[in-house]
Amino acid sequence: MSRPFRYVGRSLERVEDPQLLRGRCRYLDDVRLPGMMHVAFVRSVYGHARLLRVDADATQDLPGVALVVTGADLGDAPELVTGSSRPEAGQWSRPLLARDRVRYVGEPLAAVVASSRYTAEDACELVEVDYDPLPAVVDAERALEPESVLLHEQHGSNDFAHIAFESGDVEGAFDSAAHVFTKRFHFGRTHAAPLEGRGGIADWSDELVVWSSTQMPFLVRSMLAGLYGLPETRVRVLVPTVGGGFGLKVHLYVEEAVLPFLSRLAGAPVKWAEDRYEHLAASGHSKEVICELELATAEEGRFLAMRGRLVGDGGAHQGHPWTSLIDPLCAAAMLPGIYDLDAVRYEVHAAATNKCPTTAYRGVGWTSGHAVREALIDDAARELGIDPLELRLRNCLPDGEPVVSATGCRYDGGSYAASIRRARELVGYDELRERQRRLREEGRYLGVGFSPFVEQGGWAAEIAADQGFAGSGYLDAVSVAVEPDGSVTLATGLQSNGQGHETTLAQLAADGLGVRPGNVRVVQGDTATTAYSTGSWGSRTAIVAGGAVLRATDDLRQKLLRIAAHELEASEADLQIEDGVISVSGSPDRALSVADVAAAAYSGRAPSDVDPALTATRSYDPPATYSNACIACVVEVDVETGCVGVERLVAVEDCGRVINPLLVDGQVSGAVAQGVGAVLYEGLPYADGGQFLAGSLGEFLYPTAPELPDVEVEHLETPSPVTEGGFKGMGEGGLIGAPAAVVNAVADALAPFGVRIDRTPLRPCDVLALIDAARAPAAS
């Protein structure tokens, strides 16, 4: 559907900002209810142990403690059962509090309800827990060995899922290859770590009302209704302002799921707002995948085929409801990236380990799979003596036209080569190489890395199938109403967690109807008043809302025109709507405002063949769409200290039609910074016994302003030929692409030492270890 866009494409300032800038918005922990009590959890101090005794007797004398619930006290309370549309993933259940065994440090094993969080934490200290420690396994590959200790004995294996895939003549390609390049890469654990942690409030008296800091209010409602056997009409989920999500808040965690149970038992609303230790140790970790990748090429470097074995480190339990496959399977499905390959084979495992369960983080497994492929391509370029950009340009898919990748992903056209060429220009590639050469003579090590990629967008049935999750389906709707005064309400279960939906969805509705964005009010965060949606995640909101809003506003626009035609005694075909005024083409004096037409509808003056209800609810299940980008990173590595200084970050980004360039730039910049953080600063180490070693911001280092340069963003625009409006998704791309750019830049800087990078993170200690390891063979 082609249409003129007047507000879509403009960098409008955000509607939500004035309240946020005054600190007047209410986040989860700002919500207070009469009689509300507070929850704290007793958490495992062992990575793996049998629970022999959990004794809360000592809490009885503490004033303010209402109740303590242990795993044993849960009785026949429901368990979370996690499965997938992939039958290989099976069905794995988990009690809401650990019953007889704990499997990671931080696992909740008892809950205290008290008059304040301070008192609840005091009581947690008084709960006595006897553990019988078990051997812990913290390495995903070791967990899959037959002699490994089992986490879930009833399943007989630590493999959450094993999936194999082959397309094309892989053996033939490898047999006939002139070169085969191989790489083993361990992409380290990352943490979405939004500044606002998880939290929830449950008030279960007559009906169950839940306040949740989530990206998906309706799925939380559906899951809680299912868990507790309630009709969905008896569960209402409210979402206050969300202080960042990045995928971490597209799950239902046990701590959230147990809150209704605690509320019913306490006879009061209960709130849990986690602290930073809980968040770091026990919310969700992400992206850890050990990948072995082989690339077969012809003599001149043309890519023929890839073979990959990807072992995801799923942690102790599958993230609910998406399973542990979201890292390794997504990594595998996108192994071809932007490249033209004849054949691909992959094998995927998701291993249970004695670590925090893994959950989604912006870009899920696309980040790790992309990092290993792009690092391997740089290795291959060095071995072949071909410039890494030249090697990529020789092998990338053609720009512009839709094409199906070797793993069956239906790319809808992009600017793969153009984005590489533009990024090369923007960093001043030739000058940079010259400067690199000069600095090396001074003992300074400059490096540049490039990372071109495609990014799935608009997660829905078709793209889920592309990514290995065939059989998954989603319903996403918006409701639009023209009110009696002509103002417009747009109500949706899509959920902003900082992206600015109140602005961008209003831009879409304004253009769909022909009104000003300021006349559109976006309502979200309440399952009782909005239209069903599976929520905002997977770079989907712009696409899903794009389609649903444009469809709903089309319906309303036609209705407005029919009523206006009646009022103006004109033909509908001669009418136009612009900025809230409906006029007859060529006779601007014959005009009505949308408010006039709404007044006519609401006061019974609509023609008899038009239903005057000015509301429309429409959904959109978009076809597969893929944006693309090329990220470039320039670093200087101090080989004495191992510190990596980031000099430049450039992103040439193509997400099709842009709704709001200012906000897209913000998404790219933020995601790229997260990519730098994941590679250079943030680590989530575990000791061999399962102890977690990054439980505070003293160990988990967010990048702060001095560590980063401005992220330079430039746009190319290849509108999708298949989605309504031509929108593609872009929320995750920066974090899919930036880690590979940083890894390749560091590898490029350290090339004189013969360093091959095989892991993240690359903290100073890691960089020094890589340099030492590269020097060691020469010394011996």
């Binding site: 004035p18 946020l20 918005c25 986040y27 939004p194 500044l195 910049s669 910074a673 401005d710």
Partner: protein
């Protein structure tokens, strides 16, 4: 025990047991939503306020230590509902997304521009090093502080 403070220019008082953090006192006793708590370890800057004019992490101060003090938050930066030039600049340059770090970030920016009205980019980044933002990658924030310096200078002219 009773604690009295001047919060954004208004006399307020509440009860605080000795261990109560100033951040929790402001949020839960006085109902301020312009003080955010993200780490309670002094590691993120979300809870920053001005205590007697000094940028202070309210999660590292006990409420009783602030008794009799003057506390300014981002909410107090507005005048008759009009955004302060620094707030306007954050909006114009998309220096915020989820808004959780924003009140602390605004106060940090304000203390910078109070003492150094024309900071370089490096000085801006260094001054904001105690405030974590997970959303923006700081590009919009640095641009906002640059723009705020221009607006504040214009206002003084």
């Amino acid at each position: 025990m009773p604690v009295r403070v001047l919060l954004d220019g208004r006399e307020r008082s509440g009860q605080a047991e000795p261990r109560l953090l100033l951040s929790d006192f402001l949020r839960h006793e006085l109902g301020s939503t312009a003080v955010h708590v993200a780490c309670e370890q002094g590691g993120c800057g979300a809870c920053a306020v001005l205590l007697d004019g000094r940028l202070t992490l309210s999660c590292l101060v006990l409420a009783v230590q602030a008794d009799g003090g003057a506390i300014d938050t981002a909410d107090g930066m507005t005048t008759n509902g009009e955004l302060h030039p620094i707030q306007q600049a954050f909006r114009a340059k998309h220096g915020l997304q989820c808004g959780f770090c924003t009140p602390g970030m605004l106060l940090a920016a304000r203390t910078l521009l109070d003492t150094n009205p024309q900071p370089t980019d490096e000085e801006i980044r260094e001054h904001l090093s105690g405030n974590v933002c997970r959303c923006t990658g700081y590009t919009g924030i640095v641009a906002a502080v640059r723009e705020a310096a221009r607006l504040v200078a214009e206002e003084r002219r």
